[in-house]
């Protein structure tokens, strides 16, 4: 049993990554990770507050939550912090009209946004939608703008689906950055504003009270720690053994999966 478990004392709120922690996505809807459905249920029954903090940008929250509920997870839309709604707010605040390079599944999250005469590009995990033609269209929009603005929903390198590892939005964001000589603004993990908005929704402070559980050593764990939270790395999802020797990020603990993390939390955090 992990000796570092004692370091979990004082945790009041848990931020859970979804992909790679709860389930692995896939063409047929994917599959839950062993023990995760029950782990979430146990967390919900405890005194710990729970919020789901995801960078999922291929599906709308409604679609994602529906899918997870069908797999047995106790989760509702109001408990999820997702990048598309956060981006919509930013677009409205700044009077930005986006050219959307996104998967059709997430377009509904931008339903209230004016997309005529675009003055920026929003890029999300478009998956198969990352055709050369679609990338070129986005590139041309940016090149025509006097002040090119590129907003990226997350900047992940890859994620795990049941068929294997898949290129994520970050790679395509870098492609457009390189092509246009610009830098994107990232909405989603690991941006501090994103974590802070999730903590605010949960009513928990980062320092001493919150913990993030994720499969992305840089985006989830590193990002959370930079906000003053503790963070656990799971060995499911996109995890690769070399992540435990990451040159910059040292997780507060490494666990096999969410089930093990919850065992330890319930043992040490709720005293």
């Amino acid at each position: 049993m992990a000796a570092w478990g004692k370091r979990l004392a004082g945790v009041r709120g848990v931020l859970l990554d979804i992909s790679g922690v709860l389930y692995d996505g896939g063409e047929d809807g994917g599959a839950p990770i062993r023990g995760s459905v029950e782990a979430v249920a146990r967390l919900k029954q405890s005194r710990l507050k729970v919020r789901f903090c995801t960078n999922e940008s291929q599906k709308s929250r409604q679609e994602l939550v529906g899918l997870l509920r069908r797999q047995g997870f106790d989760i509702s839309e109001g408990e999820v912090t997702a990048p598309a709604p956060a981006t919509s707010l930013i677009l409205k605040e700044r009077g930005l009209r986006p050219h959307l390079l996104v998967h059709d599944g997430v377009r509904s999250e931008f339903g209230q946004i004016d997309t005529s005469n675009p003055n920026c590009v929003v890029i999300a995990d478009a998956g198969e939608g990352f055709s050369y033609q679609n990338m070129n269209k986005a590139f041309r929009v940016l090149m025509e703008l006097e002040k090119p603005v590129l907003i990226s929903l997350g900047k992940g390198r890859y994620y795990k689906e049941t068929s294997g590892l898949m290129l994520d939005v970050g790679a395509y964001m870098k492609a457009l950055e390189y092509a246009c000589g610009i830098e994107a603004e990232v909405v989603g993990k690991p941006s501090p504003e994103y974590f802070q908005s999730a903590l605010k929704e949960m009513g928990v402070e980062a320092h001493e009270q919150a913990i993030m559980i994720g499969d992305d050593i840089v985006g989830d764990v590193g990002g959370a720690q930079r906000c003053g939270m503790r963070a656990l790395q799971v060995r499911t999802g996109k995890f690769r053994p070399s992540d435990e020797q990451h040159p910059e990020v040292k997780a507060d603990g490494y666990v096999d999966n969410l089930a093990e993390a919850v065992d330890l939390l319930l043992q040490h955090a709720t005293k």
Binding site: E128, F130, F139, L165, M166, L167, A175, Y178, A179
Partner: protein
């Protein structure tokens, strides 16, 4: 002495030669040096089996190279291969340790219908996703220019590069010690000459102007 150097990855040397001869250019095969040649040389040197993401018309330049059970990825300008499924395949090979060879990293090129993404952005995408660096064989790499000059008997300081791409043609050549002349045709966009340091030796309207300058001032 003249060399025709190109990053083109859409034509084999033979096709290029035929096309230029049809346009009545006085040019012979051994005066042409392309980045595809440079890529093939590197593949042979490293003894790898490449997944070739190059235009079909470039394949003749890789004749004789084994491509089954690939342990390397060679990327040229191949928009028809730059969609998600194929790039994801390449990504998975690279994550397993395959070498990444980029014929060049041009950001974009000029098509009849406007600017179009070059291979550079997609190479960058794979580099970021796999946390590795590609070996680039084409302009503006120093080795490309030095290889191109091999056999001419000229030192870089005795050579002039004429091109329309400020960073890749002129910047790359000047980095090796050559003089660079930027022409305002092709993919040139206003104020490109301000984007490199030191600036081009000369910026002029077109290739004929560049040649006039060389004949009048540099010989």
């Amino acid at each position: 002495m003249v060399r025709f150097v190109t990053n083109t990855t859409k034509e084999s040397k033979q096709d290029l030669l035929d096309r230029l001869k049809k346009l009545e250019f006085d040019i012979s095969e051994d005066e042409i040096f392309t980045s595809l040649t440079a890529a093939r040389n590197l593949v042979e040197q490293k003894q790898v089996r490449p997944m070739l993401l190059v235009d079909d018309r470039a394949l003749p330049d890789f004749k004789g190279i084994q491509t089954s059970d690939p342990n390397a990825v060679v990327i040229g300008l191949a928009p028809e291969h730059f969609h998600y499924q194929i790039l994801n395949q390449a990504f998975r090979l690279l994550l397993d340790g395959a070498a990444l060879i980029a014929v060049h990293k041009a950001r974009y090129y000029k098509r009849k219908d406007g600017l179009a993404l070059g291979p550079g952005p997609f190479v960058t995408a794979l580099e970021y996703a796999t946390d590795t660096k590609a070996t680039v064989v084409g302009k503006p790499e120093k080795t490309f220019f030095l290889e191109a000059l091999r056999g001419t008997g000229c030192e870089p300081e005795e050579a002039v590069m004429i091109g329309d791409d400020c960073r890749d043609d002129v910047g790359g050549a000047q980095n090796v010690g050559m003089l660079g002349i930027l022409v305002k045709t092709g993919k040139y966009r206003a104020a490109d000459e301000e984007k490199i340091n030191p600036p081009p030796y000369l910026t002029c309207e077109s290739f004929p102007h560049a040649v006039d300058h060389i004949l009048q001032h540099l010989l």
